[in-house]
Point group: C2
Chain length 129, copies 2
């Protein structure tokens, strides 16, 4: 589904700019850390974020990922949110801190935050570069 | 409208990840070069691109811009497309090549392309970092 030429971006520390559709059908986009297991792309959210409510209302999602080493090489993925997983022990967000910061523990943890994991199944992709 | 602390990103060579809404209400996102004149944000498109059709159908748009020097500093802008300008002499896209590549002429010009300029009026912004 995702071109072999650009699959390395899914293993990289590039950010994914995640677009969802808001309550009035308007687009929203912001950057996130993400993980890839070969089938699904995952990112963390707190339950207070609008993106969390957006994907519960409309699971359609798009991600734009640019090669940090080459701004003219990028991947756009369109897909849908197929699961929202709990992350009670912060295992996933700590794994993201490991990937992106080289730290064992997510440093910006706030006790009042409830973290969940958005699981995306890619359905279509385009690439450039 | 845009926090003074993050206005420098609009003058930087960061990419903007532009989210629009597709024909079936689904989100779409991809990176673009952009310019900023203090009031409007502009980016180039060819008339064959889906993003061009999207903003004619629904002018609502969102942009995510990350500081190239600091991935934890970013700006999200929501707004609307207020004009679509012609670019018959490729003045705008050549200006973007100057900004991003330091070249006077856009190097990937294809004679068959019709280039237009999407003009965005920011209505709301959020920032981090």
């Amino acid at each position: 589904m995702i071109s072999e030429t650009h699959r390395d971006l899914l293993e990289s520390t590039a950010l994914a700019h995640v677009a969802t559709v808001g309550p009035n059908g308007e687009p929203q986009v912001n950057p996130v850390w993400f993980g890839w297991d070969g089938t699904h792309l995952r990112f963390s959210q707190t339950t207070t974020r609008q993106k969390y409510r957006n994907v519960q209302r409309d699971p359609r999602i798009a991600l734009s990922i640019v090669d940090p080493a080459n701004p003219y090489r990028y991947l756009e993925i369109r897909g849908k949110v197929v699961a929202i997983e709990a992350d009670p022990d912060w295992e996933f967000i700590n794994g993201m801190a490991k990937k992106y910061l080289g730290q064992d523990t997510y440093p910006w943890r706030r006790p009042e935050d409830t973290r969940i994991v958005i699981v995306v199944e890619p359905e279509h992709s385009t690439q450039m570069g």
